[in-house]
Symmetry: C2
Subunit: 62 residues, 2 copies
Amino acid sequence: MNNHLKDLRAAKGWSQAILAEKLDVSRQTVIAIEKGKYDPSLPLAFKIAGTFGLRIEDIFEP
Amino acid sequence: MNNHLKDLRAAKGWSQAILAEKLDVSRQTVIAIEKGKYDPSLPLAFKIAGTFGLRIEDIFEP
DNA sequence: CAGAAATGTAAAGTACCCTTTACTTAATCC
DNA sequence: GGATTAAGTAAAGGGTACTTTACATTTCTG
Protein backbone atom coordinates (compact mmCIF):
# COMPACT_ATOMS: atom_id res chain seq x y z
CA MET A 1 0.00 0.00 0.00
CA ASN A 2 1.32 3.41 -1.00
CA ASN A 3 1.20 6.61 1.08
CA HIS A 4 2.25 10.26 1.04
CA LEU A 5 3.25 10.42 4.66
CA LYS A 6 6.74 11.67 4.03
CA ASP A 7 5.52 14.54 1.84
CA LEU A 8 2.79 15.48 4.26
CA ARG A 9 5.22 15.51 7.15
CA ALA A 10 7.73 17.58 5.19
CA ALA A 11 4.97 20.05 4.28
CA LYS A 12 4.36 20.56 7.97
CA GLY A 13 8.08 20.93 8.67
CA TRP A 14 8.00 18.13 11.20
CA SER A 15 10.87 15.74 11.90
CA GLN A 16 10.17 12.04 12.15
CA ALA A 17 10.73 12.30 15.89
CA ILE A 18 8.16 15.08 16.22
CA LEU A 19 5.57 13.19 14.20
CA ALA A 20 6.24 10.02 16.19
CA GLU A 21 5.59 11.96 19.35
CA LYS A 22 2.35 13.40 18.00
CA LEU A 23 1.20 9.92 17.00
CA ASP A 24 2.38 8.37 20.22
CA VAL A 25 4.46 5.76 18.42
CA SER A 26 8.19 5.15 18.11
CA ARG A 27 10.30 6.85 15.48
CA GLN A 28 10.97 3.43 14.00
CA THR A 29 7.30 3.07 13.28
CA VAL A 30 7.19 6.38 11.42
CA ILE A 31 10.23 5.37 9.39
CA ALA A 32 8.80 1.95 8.56
CA ILE A 33 5.49 3.38 7.37
CA GLU A 34 7.10 6.19 5.38
CA LYS A 35 9.39 3.70 3.66
CA GLY A 36 6.50 1.35 2.99
CA LYS A 37 8.01 -1.43 5.04
CA TYR A 38 4.54 -2.12 6.39
CA ASP A 39 1.14 -0.49 6.72
CA PRO A 40 -0.08 1.09 9.93
CA SER A 41 -2.83 -0.56 11.95
CA LEU A 42 -6.27 0.91 11.38
CA PRO A 43 -6.25 2.84 14.67
CA LEU A 44 -2.88 4.34 13.81
CA ALA A 45 -4.12 5.20 10.32
CA PHE A 46 -6.97 7.12 11.93
CA LYS A 47 -4.52 8.90 14.19
CA ILE A 48 -2.33 9.84 11.24
CA ALA A 49 -5.29 11.15 9.28
CA GLY A 50 -6.46 13.16 12.28
CA THR A 51 -3.01 14.64 12.80
CA PHE A 52 -2.93 15.96 9.26
CA GLY A 53 -6.59 16.93 9.14
CA LEU A 54 -7.19 14.54 6.25
CA ARG A 55 -9.12 11.36 5.60
CA ILE A 56 -7.43 7.99 5.51
CA GLU A 57 -8.26 7.70 1.82
CA ASP A 58 -6.37 10.94 1.19
CA ILE A 59 -3.15 9.60 2.69
CA PHE A 60 -3.13 5.91 1.85
CA GLU A 61 -3.80 4.24 -1.49
CA PRO A 62 -4.44 0.50 -1.65
CA MET B 1 -12.58 0.70 17.71
CA ASN B 2 -16.28 0.41 16.91
CA ASN B 3 -17.83 -0.57 13.57
CA HIS B 4 -21.18 -1.22 11.87
CA LEU B 5 -20.04 -4.17 9.85
CA LYS B 6 -22.72 -6.53 11.10
CA ASP B 7 -25.50 -4.08 10.25
CA LEU B 8 -24.06 -3.31 6.85
CA ARG B 9 -23.74 -6.98 6.04
CA ALA B 10 -27.29 -7.69 7.22
CA ALA B 11 -28.56 -4.81 5.08
CA LYS B 12 -27.05 -6.53 2.07
CA GLY B 13 -28.50 -9.87 3.09
CA TRP B 14 -25.09 -11.50 3.07
CA SER B 15 -24.03 -14.33 5.35
CA GLN B 16 -20.68 -14.15 7.11
CA ALA B 17 -19.39 -16.80 4.73
CA ILE B 18 -20.43 -14.79 1.67
CA LEU B 19 -18.82 -11.63 2.98
CA ALA B 20 -15.66 -13.52 3.89
CA GLU B 21 -15.51 -14.79 0.34
CA LYS B 22 -15.98 -11.32 -1.12
CA LEU B 23 -13.22 -9.98 1.11
CA ASP B 24 -10.97 -12.94 0.47
CA VAL B 25 -10.54 -13.65 4.16
CA SER B 26 -11.68 -16.47 6.43
CA ARG B 27 -15.09 -16.50 8.08
CA GLN B 28 -13.30 -16.32 11.43
CA THR B 29 -11.88 -12.97 10.46
CA VAL B 30 -15.33 -11.60 9.65
CA ILE B 31 -16.66 -12.87 12.97
CA ALA B 32 -13.75 -11.41 14.91
CA ILE B 33 -14.11 -7.98 13.34
CA GLU B 34 -17.90 -7.92 13.68
CA LYS B 35 -17.63 -8.85 17.33
CA GLY B 36 -14.93 -6.26 17.88
CA LYS B 37 -12.38 -8.83 18.92
CA TYR B 38 -9.83 -6.91 16.89
CA ASP B 39 -9.59 -4.32 14.14
CA PRO B 40 -8.89 -5.21 10.53
CA SER B 41 -5.57 -4.34 8.97
CA LEU B 42 -5.60 -1.17 6.88
CA PRO B 43 -5.65 -3.08 3.56
CA LEU B 44 -8.59 -5.14 4.75
CA ALA B 45 -10.37 -2.00 5.96
CA PHE B 46 -10.00 -0.59 2.44
CA LYS B 47 -11.38 -3.81 0.99
CA ILE B 48 -14.34 -3.73 3.35
CA ALA B 49 -15.09 -0.11 2.51
CA GLY B 50 -14.85 -0.88 -1.19
CA THR B 51 -17.17 -3.85 -0.88
CA PHE B 52 -19.87 -1.71 0.69
CA GLY B 53 -19.22 1.33 -1.48
CA LEU B 54 -18.41 3.41 1.58
CA ARG B 55 -15.42 5.16 3.07
CA ILE B 56 -13.44 3.69 5.92
CA GLU B 57 -14.58 6.55 8.14
CA ASP B 58 -18.20 5.62 7.43
CA ILE B 59 -17.73 2.08 8.72
CA PHE B 60 -15.19 2.37 11.52
CA GLU B 61 -15.13 4.83 14.41
CA PRO B 62 -11.97 5.22 16.48
C1' DC C 1 35.33 22.17 9.38
C1' DA C 2 33.03 20.63 13.71
C1' DG C 3 29.09 19.59 16.10
C1' DA C 4 24.33 18.80 16.25
C1' DA C 5 20.14 17.30 14.35
C1' DA C 6 17.79 14.39 11.26
C1' DT C 7 17.45 10.20 8.82
C1' DG C 8 18.41 5.43 8.11
C1' DT C 9 19.57 0.36 9.18
C1' DA C 10 19.55 -3.70 12.08
C1' DA C 11 18.10 -7.03 15.45
C1' DA C 12 15.44 -9.11 19.12
C1' DG C 13 11.14 -9.26 21.56
C1' DT C 14 5.99 -8.65 22.25
C1' DA C 15 1.37 -8.33 20.78
C1' DC C 16 -1.90 -8.52 17.38
C1' DC C 17 -4.03 -9.91 12.63
C1' DC C 18 -5.38 -13.75 10.11
C1' DT C 19 -5.37 -18.64 9.04
C1' DT C 20 -7.00 -23.50 9.49
C1' DT C 21 -9.45 -26.95 11.86
C1' DA C 22 -12.97 -28.57 14.66
C1' DC C 23 -16.81 -28.42 17.35
C1' DT C 24 -21.19 -26.24 19.35
C1' DT C 25 -25.30 -23.59 19.20
C1' DA C 26 -28.98 -21.00 16.90
C1' DA C 27 -32.07 -20.16 13.07
C1' DT C 28 -34.51 -21.63 8.98
C1' DC C 29 -37.16 -24.81 6.14
C1' DC C 30 -39.30 -28.84 4.32
C1' DG D 1 -38.96 -33.17 14.17
C1' DG D 2 -34.90 -33.64 11.16
C1' DA D 3 -31.90 -31.60 7.98
C1' DT D 4 -29.56 -27.76 6.38
C1' DT D 5 -27.64 -23.20 6.76
C1' DA D 6 -25.87 -19.50 9.65
C1' DA D 7 -23.56 -17.93 13.61
C1' DG D 8 -20.49 -18.55 17.50
C1' DT D 9 -16.38 -20.38 20.30
C1' DA D 10 -11.73 -22.26 20.86
C1' DA D 11 -6.96 -23.21 20.01
C1' DA D 12 -2.56 -23.53 17.62
C1' DG D 13 0.46 -21.45 14.18
C1' DG D 14 2.43 -17.94 10.83
C1' DG D 15 3.16 -13.33 9.53
C1' DT D 16 3.01 -8.48 10.52
C1' DA D 17 2.81 -4.14 13.43
C1' DC D 18 5.22 -1.96 16.91
C1' DT D 19 8.75 -1.54 20.59
C1' DT D 20 13.43 -0.73 22.41
C1' DT D 21 18.24 -0.31 21.84
C1' DA D 22 22.20 0.71 19.35
C1' DC D 23 24.89 2.36 15.77
C1' DA D 24 25.84 4.52 10.92
C1' DT D 25 24.99 7.99 7.68
C1' DT D 26 23.34 12.21 5.91
C1' DT D 27 22.02 17.08 6.36
C1' DC D 28 21.88 21.37 8.63
C1' DT D 29 24.14 25.17 11.11
C1' DG D 30 27.50 27.93 13.43
